[in-house]
Amino acid sequence: MATFFGEVVVAPSRAGVDDEEEAREETPEDREIRRELEKKREIDILWTLKSGATTESCADEPFVCSKFIVAIGRNAAAFLSSFILDSVCWEVVGVVKLWNEWCRTSSTTNVLPTDSFCLFYRLISDPTVLLCQCSCYVAEDQQFQWLEKVFGCMQKEGLQVTILSTCPVADYKTQESTLTLPSPFLKALKTKEFKEQVCCPLLEQPNIVRDLPAA
């Protein structure tokens, strides 16, 4: 797609459906390969119970949660590490294990800042406050699964969710050039149920949020 300067920009997927893709019938081998790939891309969440054991299911008792703070991306995760998290007030209660073409996380909770990881912490003084630090990239086809598995474990009544994320300034659309914008700057999106004061201006159209924060 040509822009004002005439430079060619790769238009993000438009039709999204390859004609050859739809014409081909799936053979049993194709189906098997697809199933294996899907299994490989499944997300596992391991929760640490009070007893210290880990479990994958929380079907018996969803977490009672009043505040859930999710930091997505390395910058947001680093923000939490630098200013919020410490081993005195917070304890690790869960870890996400996933694989995609961009990263792989493990089930270890002893991570380095440069690793890709997705960990859940709980405030020791108020166990209804949960925090998630997600520095790994959750692929498009895994985002919904992540969402269902994480929120499926929580009691959602009275829950307040805060999502922290970063985007490149170059992606921000504004009348003036982004070069002259004082950055970094904060923008927010909120649901109509959020009644508290927002600490920064709201994100104006035509700007949008994608990927896991959007999900």
Partner: protein, 264 residues
């Protein structure tokens, strides 16, 4: 799949029995989606719900049809439903591409929702690669239509009156055997799948598409929405109908931010 908004209307606002469902296919130039934006914006349609689906790439932003500070703060996501009961019109807008391998389940779920909500007919706005046209298609109008057999019975005559051109079929094995013809909509996204599934499910569906290329597709969107208007008469068609469609505020800055003055 369909989640209604909680409003005073309640179930009344999500009763689409006998309505026409207007929807885009995510296709070349995003022309169908742009045309739908024009319809929603011009008719000031009310959002009545959304689709909770894992088939589309997630996205969220503030109200794309905001006209003032007060109505700019409503969140908007990738698949939302708007309605205008006075015209018995319900519109689905899709704002992001399909996740790999998910377009089939989406079509299946969508068509069962169409059946269960008892929509009278479905109109899909779409587009197809202009470079794939043959010599004959290069001449004349770039707009085409398709009707499922059930809608052909109900409205086929009207298309003749409007002097519309039906989408031509192409040879299944070009150069080898020209007798066997198939429907081919390159760049049309899920258009062909939706159409063929509707044919077999007895759904009254029309496809309206325009041949176009990637680029500034706003004129294509206007052409498509005026084409639609010839049939559905959503707005009064006067000599210069282009000026009567309201461009939504989210169409600002379609080609990126302003230029850095230091460049010059």
């Amino acid at each position: 799949m369909f989640v209604p908004c909680e409003r005073g209307g309640g179930s009344a606002s999500s009763d689409f029995k006998g309505f026409i469902l207007l929807m885009p296919a995510v296709s070349v130039g995003n022309v169908g989606q742009l045309a739908i934006d024009l319809v929603i914006s011009t008719l000031s349609m009310t959002k009545v719900g959304y689709f909770y689906t894992d088939c589309l790439v997630p996205m969220v932003g503030n109200n794309p049809y905001a006209t003032a500070e007060e109505n700019s703060m409503e969140l908007s996501i990738n698949a939302e439903v708007y309605s205008l009961p006075s015209k018995k019109l319900v519109v689905l807008q899709i704002r992001s591409p399909f996740i790999k391998n998910k377009y089939r389940p989406f079509c299946q779920t969508l068509l069962s929702w169409v059946k269960s909500s008892k929509c009278a007919r479905v109109v899909v706005l779409s587009s197809s690669h202009a470079y794939q046209r043959d010599d004959e298609q290069l001449l004349g109008t770039p707009l085409r239509y398709l009707l499922t057999p059930d809608l052909e019975k109900a409205a086929g005559g009207l298309m003749q009156e409007l002097n519309w051109k039906e989408m031509e079929k192409v040879a299944a094995y070009p150069g080898i055997n020209d007798t066997e013809k198939v429907l081919h909509i390159p760049g049309g996204g899920i258009t062909k799948l939706l159409f063929t599934e509707s044919c077999s499910k007895g759904i009254q569906m029309a496809v309206l598409l325009k041949f176009c290329s990637e680029g500034d597709n706003i004129p294509d969107a206007f052409a498509l929405v005026n084409y639609l208007n010839e049939w559905l008469q959503l707005i009064k068609s006067e000599v210069n109908t282009s000026s009567q469609w309201k461009i939504p505020s989210s169409w600002r800055l379609l080609f990126g931010s302003g230029l850095p003055p230091a460049l010059f």
